[in-house]
Symmetry: C2
Subunit: 82 residues, 2 copies
Amino acid sequence: MPEFMDVHRNMSGLTKEALQAAHDADLAIQSDEDVVFKTAWADPDSGVVYCLSEAPSADAVKRIHERAGHPADEIHPVPLKV
Amino acid sequence: MPEFMDVHRNMSGLTKEALQAAHDADLAIQSDEDVVFKTAWADPDSGVVYCLSEAPSADAVKRIHERAGHPADEIHPVPLKV
C-alpha cells in the first residue's frame, strides 16, 4: 500500500491530548477508506503536524481527515523512503 | 533526545539512489553533532523530502544538512507524537 505524508498547519498550542483525540478520530473511521494512519508528529509552537499513513490514494487520506474535522493542508505520496 | 522533522523542497526528479546518497552523506558526519537521522521520505513529483531525526537541537540538524550539501528549508522540533 502506498505511503503518504500529510501536513496540517495553524495548530499552534496543540496539546498531547488534543493530538491524541484528533488521531483517534481518524482511526475510528479510517477503515471506511482502507487508510491506516501510522504516526503523527506535532510542533505546538509553530503549529505544524505531520501525519504518516498508508492508503490507496491521497484522496482517501483527504476524505478521512475532512470527515474527522481536521482537513490537511498538503498531502504527498512518499514512494521513496530510506 | 528530542525529535525533529525537517523539510527539503525543490527536489523534483529525485531518485531512490540520490535520496540514499544524500542520506548516507548525512549519516557519515551526523555523529559530529550527536544527530541521528532515522527516516527520510520523498515525493519526487512535488520535490518534497521529510527527514526525521533525533538531535540535541534544530541547529545541529541544520549544520549537518548544510555540510552534507542539502540545506533544509524548514526544521521543526516535534515534541508530540502519537
